[in-house]
């Protein structure tokens, strides 16, 4: 047996880790003893989403390393230890802590460092950079005492850093040397539009400014003096003036480096020493350093292929980008500056809606060479496909960027793409790979994402992915049947519209006019739910009673033994000692098992049907009302104590939570809805795991939507920032109404949004920009539901006819003898089957 060779990877950043993950996925894992040096105190994490650290994502959540990854694959990780030198003759690497390792193959994945211009004073206190989690911690610490923050550099990263400063509650400036923002990606007009948008958000932009010195400030820690004589007082100075490859190790061991830095590599990512590779941001290919993660990932895969002895080439990478900067869509594709010989330019500018678009096409108008989009990047996916896959343009290419007023479609259908067309550029997934995953059984977006990784990076391709999925499924003969059940040939959304437009008030009417048969346990509750959302009549009215799901029929949650649990509303989780005592007394009197729920309320278990009205009578007398825990409806609005008590609180999260819960309580929806409100970005209420999450910031409320816990947890997406309360409430009204109207049955907000063509961006265009002209209706609908709210239990116990059903037997007062409790930890619980047998024996005996 041959000895294993040693492979050393220097740098465990995004690309280094991607390399390791691909390596252990291949047979090479058996051939190499793998060792990696990681200078940072933690293993690889997602730098691309670094900024989300400020909106509550933890270092743990940012990690790119699966639990136990290194151990499981036998990789030795030297954490917090920097490789200090390479001896190429002896083929050894020596670390700062003195570890020395002989290598057969060496991979440099050392990344880059932020360039700090050598202006005098650049190393003063609170002059910071933006690259690592430690940098962010330093920023957060500095923001505690400071009021003003300034970013030096108006590129992609600079603007992202500016957003972070805003989120930290600082008055924010951006200082750019070039005459426009994002000089690399945008042209003048695009840069100007971006500037206006960003200034509207409250950031002051200074372009064409050359900083000459940083010195003591009068009101702030620092003062920046510019070449033109102007000055700017600021506490924090954040340098984001570009990156420089970390090639110091390569330089000292004599590897070839570029004139302006970067480790020179060939198409196999080999350096000038054939046993040493370089990948990621430290590598210089064809005179280029790629400051994006996707090309680095491609390099990593190239090296794995090369080590396997296969044939792989790194041949450059597409630098197209789409991102959201402070809520502004910006995208740049290919040759945005029209540098290609003979290129023609079309541009569209709408000053009113602050949209700027520009197309760069080839001389013969056949192919798209590049594009710039500011303010509306919805066409990005289509344009990128035209550009990357050399698809011939339509006769009038400008139709691609002009607003289409008629219903003509200019998007590229999925069938226009070839199998080799790249759909997801983050993970390099082609249409062919997606189609074969679908052939092998992926039927949903979720499965497809898990299987192919497509749309799990920046997510820019998810709409396109969905259309490929739909088109492939229907080709395979899965007439994607969206009928709700055999009784109605309609989707839930169709039924909702029928009920609304034809003003249908009962299931029987709907069945007679649009359905067949008697109905079933699918369509009945779904229609019952729609009727309740739309007309808000009591769900136990004779017409509606038979439609309700088990829990709704008895306004309580059925448990495994047929008993029920009772959950009174405790708005925002706030409860006085007296109310708590009242609750305890009811629990004690009826011998109920009591437990605190995850939604900050109290659940009382073990109530028999006949006890429910008595229990509720007492609860209502004590001042409680129904918690709707039994319904597909708003459950809870969880909150932290917020600014009222908490040292860090920025706003009154409890107050807002109570207001929201009272506003939306009783709203019937396709599935349950959960809210939470946190008083600051520390996020103690876990708002980002809810359908609707709200976090207080210095600039107002930040709104997150479409998160959930449960079986498939999903982080909520940031939907709008810096809202005042009336705007916040209006936005939530619209969001919920739209969800209630258009979601499928039993579809949580997360799945609803993920399956929506256009996803989050589309949702924003409907809810925020009122693209469909629906918002007024949506608000009215919500107001109607709010105005017609009733406590379902209060109405029920006041109505003899409704109470008649609350007994086990219609013809006897006996309780159900099958309900047997035993005691555990001082409370009741249902007897298990063995215990039950024992009871039966005792009864017979």
């Amino acid at each position: 047996m041959s000895e294993k060779q040693t492979l050393v990877v220097i740098g465990n950043g995004m690309v280094g880790q991607h390399f390791l993950a691909n390596l252990v996925d291949s047979p090479l894992k058996e051939q190499y003893e793998i060792i990696t040096f990681c200078e940072e105190p933690r293993a690889a994490y997602d730098r691309v989403h670094l900024s989300s650290f400020f909106t509550g994502t933890t270092a743990q959540e940012l990690s790119l390393v699966e639990d136990g990854f290194f151990e499981r694959h036998g990789i030795t990780l030297h954490l917090g230890d920097k490789a200090a030198s390479i001896d190429r003759t002896a083929k050894t690497v020596t670390s700062a802590k003195g570890v020395s390792i002989a290598y057969d193959k060496l991979v440099l994945a050392t990344g880059s460092y932020p360039f700090v211009p050598p202006v005098p004073g650049h190393d003063r206190p609170q002059c910071l950079v933006y690259r690592t989690i430690e940098d962010l911690e330093a920023m957060a610490a500095a923001a505690k005492t400071g009021k003003v923050g300034t970013v030096v550099g108006g590129g992609l990263l600079g603007l992202e850093a500016a957003k972070a400063l805003m989120d930290l509650g600082l008055k924010t400036h951006v200082v750019e040397f070039a005459p426009r923002l994002m000089a690399v990606q945008l042209d003048d007009a695009g840069g100007e539009m971006l500037r206006r948008k960003i200034e509207n958000l409250g950031v002051t932009v200074h372009t064409g400014k050359n900083t000459s010195i940083i010195t003591d400030g009068e009101h702030c820690v620092n003062k920046m003096c510019f070449a033109d004589g102007e000055e700017l007082e600021t506490d924090i100075v954040l340098f984001s003036a570009g990156i420089r490859p970390r090639d110091e190790l390569a330089r000292t061991c004599g590897l070839e480096v570029g004139q302006r830095g970067g480790i020179v590599i060939d198409n196999q990512c080999r350096t000038s020493d054939p046993s040493i590779y370089a990948i990621g941001e430290c590598a210089l290919w064809n005179g280029m350093i790629y400051g994006l993660v996707a090309p680095g990932y491609t390099m990593a895969r190239t090296v794995v292929a090369d080590l396997k002895g296969g044939y792989a080439n790194f041949t450059g990478a597409d630098m197209s980008t789409k991102l959201k900067l402070m809520g502004v869509d910006v995208a740049s594709i290919g040759d945005a500056h029209a540098k290609t010989q003979g290129a023609m330019v079309y541009s569209y500018q709408n000053g009113d809606s602050e949209v700027y678009k520009r197309l760069v096409v080839s001389e013969d108008k056949k192919f798209l060479l590049g594009a710039v989009l500011v303010g509306d990047a919805s066409g990005y996916g289509t344009l990128l496909q035209y550009c990357l896959n050399y698809i011939e343009l339509p006769e009038n290419p400008d139709a691609l960027i002009l607003p289409h007023r008629s219903d003509e479609s200019v998007g590229l259908g999925p069938d226009a793409l070839s199998a080799s067309a790249q759909i997801c550029s983050c993970f390099d997934v082609t249409k062919g790979a997606i189609c074969s995953a679908i052939e092998n059984g992926c039927m949903t977006m979720g499965e497809l994402k898990a299987e192919t990784k497509a749309a799990t990076g920046c997510g820019g391709c998810s709409a396109l992915l969905k259309s490929v999925l739909d088109s492939e499924l229907s080709k395979q003969g899965f007439a994607v049947n969206t009928d709700i059940c055999e009784h109605f040939a309609y989707t839930r959304q169709d039924l909702f519209n029928l009920v609304r437009v034809e003003e249908i008030k009962t299931f029987a009417d709907l069945l007679h006019t649009h359905g067949k048969g008697l109905g079933c346990e699918i369509c009945k509750p779904a229609v019952g739910n729609i009727l309740a959302s739309q007309w808000n009549e009591h769900i136990l009215e004779t017409d509606h009673l038979g439609l309700q799901d088990t829990n709704d029929t008895y306004l309580a949650n059925m448990q495994k033994d047929g008993t029920y649990s009772v959950v009174p509303r405790i708005t925002g989780g706030e409860i006085s000692p007296d109310m708590l005592i009242a609750l305890g007394q009811v629990g004690k009197k009826y011998k109920l098992y009591t437990k605190i729920t995850g939604g900050q309320r109290v659940d009382l278990f073990g109530a028999r049907v006949d006890q429910l009205p008595h229990i509720w009578k007492e609860l209502i007398d004590a001042g409680f009302e129904s918690g709707h825990a039994y319904g597909k409806s708003l459950r809870t609005v969880k909150s932290c104590v917020g600014s009222t008590w908490c040292r860090y609180g920025v706003d009154d999260s409890v107050g807002l939570a109570i207001e929201l819960e009272n506003r939306y309580k009783g709203l019937r929806s396709p599935h349950k809805i959960k809210f939470a409100v946190s008083g600051c970005t520390r996020e103690c209420a876990e708002a980002q795991s809810k359908d609707v999450g709200i976090i207080a910031t210095e600039n107002g409320w930040n709104l997150y939507v479409c998160g959930n816990g449960g079986m498939k947890p999903r982080h909520a997406d940031l939907f709008a920032t810096g809202l005042d309360k009336p705007t916040l409430i209006k936005t939530i009204d619209r969001f919920l109404s739209f969800y209630v109207r258009t979601a499928d049955r039993l579809q949580r907000t997360s799945v609803w949004m993920e399956n929506m063509e256009g996803g989050l961006d589309y949702l924003k265009s409907v809810i925020v920009d009122d693209k469909l002209g629906l918002c007024e209706q949506l608000e009215q609908q919500m107001q109607y539901v709010i105005d017609t709210y009733q406590c379902e239990w209060k109405t029920a116990i006041e109505d003899e006819a409704k109470l008649k059903r609350f007994r086990h037997f219609i013809n006897s007062d006996q309780p159900d003898d099958n309900i047997v409790f035993v005691e555990e930890r001082g409370q009741i619980r249902p007897a298990d089957s063995d215990e039950r047998k024992h009871f039966k024996l005792m009864e017979i005996a």
């Binding site: 008697l518 109905g519 346990e521 369509c523 009945k524 038979g546 799901d549 008649k804 037997f809 219609i810």
Partner: protein, 120 residues
């Protein structure tokens, strides 16, 4: 020979829904569909999968033309005429003969099956 016994009045029934009656010591789920061709059904109230007396609280309707109740616990369907479970034909719940006579709901004593628990 049928022996009809009154168990309750039609007014005690819930349209398009169920109630449970105690009949000679057995729990009987009674469903009433005033608009359908066959208007009343009676089956055992015990759910053999959920092992609880809850079927009268299930939603009724039809699946492929068979009248059914779906269990409120784990959603299995039972044919209201035969008692057979649609998801697992080896499981069957008792069915009873039932009629409405002059405003009163009657069950047939001779259809009383001393039901055994199906082996699961």
């Amino acid at each position: 020979m049928a022996k009809w016994i009154d168990v309750c009045s039609v007014d005690d029934l819930q349209p398009d829904s169920g109630v449970c009656a105690l009949f000679e010591g057995e729990q009987v789920a009674i469903f009433w569909m005033p608009e359908a061709d066959v208007k009343v059904y009676a089956v055992g109230n015990y759910d053999p999968f959920g092992k609880a007396n809850v079927l009268s609280r299930g939603i009724i309707g039809d699946i492929g033309g068979q009248p059914v109740v779906s269990s409120p616990l784990y959603k299995q369907h039972y044919n209201l005429q035969t008692g057979v479970c649609l998801e697992d034909e080896s499981v069957k719940i008792p069915v009873y003969a039932i009629r409405i006579e002059n405003g009163s709901v009657q069950l047939d004593l001779s259809s009383l099956s001393h039901h055994q628990e199906p082996a699961l």
